[in-house]
């Protein structure tokens, strides 16, 4: 193909935030993950663990609990005392309800999915009814004397276990009164600790309550009598999270030492019916606290302060030995954080709350394959652009000419004009950006930097003409009737005629920019699109999917190319391991 000068850039110093909660949804096989910066990400486990959606974080919104309710509804609660429901279509926050109980530490959805329980700082447990479009406060349970850190419903929905500090309460849901109060031993390795925090509880259908606490214990309680049945001391530090499988034959706990322990219900002897909980496997995939664990039917999922999301398949549950059987460690977001100005050799890095602009170095030397060339000029850090306000940056872009930088947060859209005078750069903000551009999911400049394309979270696509220091709204492509799915990916053809856009599930739409109308729609495929590009000259659209398939679609001919068909027949991309991003 040829020889290339590859700039190996390792100075993008992006540090993801730690994982605070994970919630697994069995019906859709999706995993919701919340991070300490308030970001919530949705992973599709069926689509090769692709991170298909995300909700940008907010400084004041520390998520402490995350759960799925009936009908694929996702709720979170946090230390600001609000319960939030997310709109999984529009990728924004539907509403926020204050529970009026101080910071919320825990939340649990009833087994039937119609009720929501939150545990608050003031020791109150509040029951909410989930209505089709909102949640409705119903009543308080008996107030406890300290914060409720963990909650778990009995599978029948009649009782609830609540972990607090030094004790576990069992509530009767109907009356809202505490039936049992189980005091937890404060002793830790023979030394009396000040307090024993119940980080997690799990209520099993046989009435057993499993608790994990800050003294490193995993304890089994009989909720009928309120007595301790069994005690496992598994760590020298806090055990911070617990998740039980649906069959209740195995559960997983995560410790502050970075270890994840798997417990299984196994027969006492090989052919007896008597079973007991046995600690079977320890996993050390984390270096820091494992703050959250989840148990899917086939895998143990854990995440924590070290920012890795680890999906450890249970080998005995995996039928086909394919990629799904391999251990997954997901650290970085599955979206574009870097944009590039080809003309000026600039790179724009997107961080949570700031942007960095770097100029690539250059060299005059030449070499053969594998050589590292001496630099005649090193890379320069040109600009550090901080956002105002508490919101995280959703997306950003630099124009190919290097004169424009655009980024978006949930509430605002920012466009900057850059002027280069020798080594000096001046930055000028373009004011009065229209409100409909806010909360953009993807920003793209045309190849000649004259047009700006903004994909909003309402499914619409805005085209803006850029003039020297100002702009003009040209057109808005409205979503196809009935769909409100937001567009996540954009690609523009180098000749500036075509714009391709894709959501998470529907097909790829191709628009004619000259005539400002929809040109065609590439048929949708089972797996989400992970990357889009339009080839110069041919105007062939190349689409990559999360199942590692690549398609090539000819925009002028409105059909798949011959090459794409051959590739699909032969399937030569099976060796690739990571999903295409």
């Amino acid at each position: 193909m040829g020889e290339f000068k590859v700039h190996r850039v390792r100075f993008f110093n992006y540090i993801p935030s730690g994982i605070r909660c994970v919630a697994y949804n069995n019906q859709s096989n999706r995993l919701a993950v919340s991070r300490t910066d308030g970001t919530v990400e949705i992973y599709n486990l069926s689509a090769n663990y692709f991170q298909e959606k995300f909700f940008p974080g907010h400084e004041s919104r520390a998520t402490e609990a995350l759960c799925w309710a009936k009908g694929q509804r996702l709720f979170s609660a946090g230390l600001n005392g609000e319960i939030i429901e997310y709109d999984l279509q529009a990728l924004n926050i539907k509403y926020a309800v204050d529970a009026f109980g101080g910071p919320i530490w825990s939340m649990a959805v009833s087994p039937h999915g119609s009720q929501l329980l939150v545990g608050c700082e003031d020791g109150s447990v509040k029951l909410f009814q989930i209505t089709p479009d909102k949640i409705q406060f119903e009543r308080n349970f008996d107030r406890q004397k300290s914060r409720i850190l963990s909650l778990s419903w009995h599978p029948s929905g009649t009782h609830v276990a609540a972990g607090s500090i030094d004790y576990i309460s069992v509530f009767d849901v109907k009356s809202g009164s505490a039936v049992h109060k189980m005091l937890v031993d404060r002793q830790y390795m023979g030394v009396s600790k000040r307090k024993c925090i119940i980080w997690g509880v799990a209520f099993l259908s046989d009435g057993t309550v499993i608790s994990v606490d800050s003294a490193g214990k995993v304890q089994f309680w009989d909720s009928a009598t309120g007595t301790l049945v069994k005690n496992h001391l598994i760590a020298n530090a806090d055990v911070q999270s617990i998740a039980v499988s649906d069959q209740e034959d195995s559960f997983v706990v995560g410790t502050a030492e970075g270890t994840v322990f798997h417990f299984q219900l196994v027969s006492v002897t090989s052919n007896s019916s008597e079973k007991q909980w046995v600690r079977t496997k320890p996993f050390q995939h984390h270096t820091h606290d494992v703050r959250a664990v989840a148990h899917s039917p086939t895998a143990l999922i854990s995440g924590g302060t070290d920012t890795h999301l680890v999906i450890r398949p249970l080998m005995e549950k995996v039928e086909v030995k394919n990629y799904d059987a391999a251990l997954r460690k997901i650290t970085f977001p599955h979206r574009r954080l870097i944009s590039c100005s080809k003309k000026r050799q600039l790179l724009l890095f997107q961080f949570t709350h700031h942007l960095e602009l770097w100029r690539l170095g250059s060299t005059v030397a030449t070499g053969k394959n594998g050589d590292t060339l001496p630099l005649s000029r090193d890379a320069d850090h040109l600009l550090h652009l901080k956002t105002k306000g508490p919101e995280n940056i959703i997306c950003s872009c630099i124009s190919p000419c290097g004169s424009w930088i655009a980024y978006s947060t949930t509430s605002r859209f920012f466009l900057y004009r850059l002027n280069y005078e020798h080594d000096n750069i001046s930055l000028q903000r373009v004011s009065k950006m229209p409100a409909f551009l806010r909360s953009a999911l993807q920003i793209l400049f045309s190849e000649d930097s004259a047009k700006l394309f903004v994909a909003s979270n309402q499914g619409s696509l805005h085209v803006i003409r850029l003039l020297e220091g100002s702009f003009k709204h040209l057109h808005t492509f409205q979503p196809q009737s009935g769909t409100v799915e937001s567009m996540c990916l954009l690609a523009v053809s180098p000749d500036g005629n075509w714009l391709a856009s894709s959501g998470t599930s529907a097909g790829v739409h191709v628009y004619n920019i000259k005539h400002l109308k929809l040109h065609c729609t590439v048929p949708s495929y089972n797996f989400p699109v992970t990357a889009l590009a339009i080839a110069p000259n041919t105007n062939n659209l190349v689409i990559a999917h999360s199942d590692q398939q690549v398609f090539e679609y000819s925009i002028p001919d409105k059909q798949y190319t011959e090459w794409s068909r051959t590739i699909q027949k032969q399937g030569c991309y099976q060796e690739a391991y990571r999903p295409c991003l």
């Binding site: 020889e3 290339f4 190996r8 390792r10 100075f11 170095g361 060339l373 630099l375």
Partner: protein
């Protein structure tokens, strides 16, 4: 290494042992209890740990026990045979053997075998085998004859192989030996002819066997004093055919060849055998443990009152008849490894200064232990020699005859002549024979002590303790410290007990006295240079006297003693076997040695590399190990002696300060590592490069 511990007699009352000693020692169903059957009329049950009998049963006057009593592990009853044909079965509660169950059989019994997890088996003199139950159901049943006329059963043993009993018995007919293997799961009997190989004339004196998956490893001790091994397959390919098995030499001359009786052999584990018999022609009988893998003598113990040539072993105890007493000798065997055979490994030596004698060719060690039994066994050099080779070597023959009668001077001359000849491959065994011969004469006439010749022989670098066990013993007797030092330097396989005996002599006052005379002379390696007639051994110098004079703390011992002690420090040992012997050293000597070690330790700590000056000095590890060992063994004694207490105190302080330094250094190291990391990060700050990549 292995060790034979102090034995104890089992019975204070002399057994009525006849000329043939005991009939047998057998396990009972309780651990630690053994049935001892004497050659006459009595069976005694002993509890070994209590050293006392628990029960005794005798047959009537006129009757005689013909086969050792055994315990039926399935019922807990005891079985004995008297008058060849009469079975008696009784239990612990029975008092009189006359009144217990009796069964008279139709044929004469050779042995009853009983093994855990199976019914007892009765082996008849005619070679037939029956289960006890079947026999008791019909005592007068006809017993067939299996072996031919004039064929006599010599030895037998039973094994459990995959939960099935396998019985082996050896018969002899006109000097030919046959092995029969009876399997009880398939009721097959296979016969093998033992081919004796070159040593046709020798008579097998003792058998022992161990079992491994597919083979019974049959060991035999022949009248030439060598141990042979024969691999007898348990599952023969063609059971009907008469098959032959060859035997191969395993250990050469473990007992003196002319010992006619009183020799016995038993396999202890995969790599160790115990041998009963005299080590040297004129020496007393002794029991010794040999490592067959590395061919080293691991331990030996003299039995001055003679023995009956019978040896039993159960668990960790050897049972021998010592004089008229049944003696139990507990033993310990470590798992056989090269390091174990040679004790704690000697520290790595500077290339060229000294090499360990190549007394064993390790390369040809037995890799294919249970391969085809017909394939020629790998040859090992140690203690193995084809007889004709020595015959062909006239120089050695001449030398050997000279040793028998000539004067020391003459022997020296002959030896020089012999050593001048180019060494043959079996050089080391010849040297071994020469030393044995010299020692034999020394034993016979104590005034004959060919010191110079022996020194010269040691310096051939081919000798080892296993090759000439008596050498150091003789040197110890004579308190010949120079010889001992040489041996310590040259021999890689000195038992810990001997090392410790050397240490005792080195620390004793005899060394000190000599010092007075020699101090004025120029000392080289602790010895007068003129005294050394061979320049080979003078490399080991611990500390030059002038160095010592310059030190603020002076050396607590004279240079000569220091050189000797250094030889001890360099010697190989296993802690487990050394510790018990260290306890016997007198307290003053322990103190002195500790003082010396402390001095060396201080010296070591003076430079950064923690080494001592001089050629081939003791290493810090050796010094520390010995300090620990000495303190471990003698701590309670040492703390009671005032001057030792002072020493301990200063040692403690010094070690404490060293530990402090080390921990501080560790801290610094961590900091340095962090700095290094930071430094690397700084380098990585230039996280940017332009590279050329070619795509095809």
């Amino acid at each position: 290494m292995a060790a034979l511990e102090e034995g104890f007699t089992l019975s204070a009352v002399p057994l009525g042992a006849g000329p043939h000693g005991l009939l047998g020692v057998e396990q009972s169903d309780k651990a630690d209890q053994f049935l001892v059957t004497d050659g006459g009329r009595t069976v005694i049950l002993y509890k070994v740990s209590d050293q006392k009998p628990l029960g005794s049963w005798s047959v009537k006057q006129g009757q005689i026990i013909t086969c050792p009593a055994v315990c039926n592990f399935q019922t807990g009853e005891y079985i004995v045979v008297h008058d060849n044909k009469v079975l008696r079965i009784w239990s612990n509660e029975d008092v009189n053997l006359d009144k217990v169950f009796k069964a008279t059989l139709s044929a004469e019994i050779y042995r009853i075998h009983s093994i855990q997890g199976a019914e007892p088996l009765v082996l008849f003199k005619e070679g037939a085998v029956r289960g006890l139950e079947a026999l008791l159901a019909e005592p007068q049943q006809k017993i067939e004859t299996v072996i031919s006329d004039e064929e006599v059963i010599k030895w037998t043993k039973i094994f459990m192989v995959f939960k099935h009993t396998v019985l082996i018995f050896i018969t002899e007919k006109h000097g030919n030996y046959f092995a029969y293997i009876q399997k009880f799961n398939s009721h097959t009997l296979s016969k093998y002819t033992l081919l004796l190989g070159q040593e046709e004339k020798s008579v097998i004196q003792s058998f022992s066997a161990s079992v491994d998956r597919n083979f019974i490893s049959l060991m035999s001790l022949s009248s030439d004093g060598c141990v042979y091994e024969t691999l007898v397959p348990i599952h023969p390919r063609d059971p009907e055919k008469d098959q032959r098995v060859v035997r191969s030499l395993l250990l050469k001359t473990v007992v003196s060849g002319d010992a006619r009786n009183g020799v016995a052999l038993t396999v202890l584990d995969q790599d160790h055998v115990a041998v009963l018999g005299p080590l040297l022609p004129s020496s007393k009988e002794c029991v010794s443990i040999w490592n067959t893998k590395f061919q080293t003598l691991q331990a030996s113990k003299e039995l001055p009152q003679g023995t009956s040539g019978q040896l039993w072993y159960y668990g960790e105890n050897l049972f021998v008849l010592h004089g008229k007493f049944l003696t139990v000798i507990p033993y310990k065997c470590e798992v056989s490894s090269l390091a174990g055979a040679l004790g704690k490994l000697k520290h790595s030596q500077d290339p060229g200064t000294q090499t360990v004698p190549h007394f064993v060719n390790w390369e040809t060690s037995r890799g294919h232990r249970f391969g085809s039994q017909n394939s020629e066994q790998s040859k090992r050099i140690l203690r193995r020699r084809k007889p004709e080779v020595s015959v062909q070597n006239p120089a050695s023959k001449q030398l050997l005859s000279a040793i028998k009668k000539d004067s020391e001077k003459h022997i020296e001359e002959e030896l020089c002549k012999f050593l001048a000849i180019k060494p043959t491959p079996d050089f080391n065994t010849i040297i071994g024979d020469i030393v044995s011969e010299l020692l034999g004469r020394h034993k016979a006439e104590p005034s004959f002590y060919p010191r110079n010749s022996l020194m010269q022989l040691i310096q051939t670098h081919v000798l080892s303790h296993s090759l000439c066990p008596g050498l150091m013993e003789a040197a110890l007797e004579k308190a010949d410290v120079q010889m001992l030092q040489l041996c310590l330097q040259q021999f890689p396989d000195i038992p810990e007990s001997v090392t410790c005996a050397c240490l005792k002599i080195f620390l004793s006052d005899s060394v000190q006295e000599e010092k007075m005379e020699e101090q004025t002379e120029v000392l080289h390696n602790g010895f007068n240079a003129e005294e050394e007639n061979c320049g080979n051994c003078d490399r080991e110098l611990n500390k030059k006297p002038q160095d010592a004079a310059e030190e603020t703390t002076s050396c607590p011992v004279i240079p000569k003693r220091a050189a000797l002690l250094n030889a001890i420090l360099h010697s190989a040992y296993s802690e487990m076997f050394l510790l018990p012997h260290l306890k016997d050293i007198p307290a003053q000597h322990v103190t002195l040695f500790l003082q010396y070690l402390y001095f060396l330790y201080l010296k070591c700590s003076e430079n950064a590399t923690m080494t001592l000056p001089g050629l081939h000095p003791p290493t810090l590890n050796q010094i520390m190990d010995w300090i620990c060992l000495l303190l471990d063994a003698n701590f309670t004694v040492v703390v009671m002696i005032p001057e030792a207490k002072r020493l301990l105190l200063s040692l403690y302080k010094f070690v404490k300060s060293q530990v402090c330094i080390c921990s501080e250094l560790n801290k610094i190291e961590v900091s340095f590592r962090e700095l290094q990391k930071l430094n690397q990060e700084k380098n990585n700050r230039e996280l940017y490069s332009i590279e050329v990549l070619e795509l095809f």
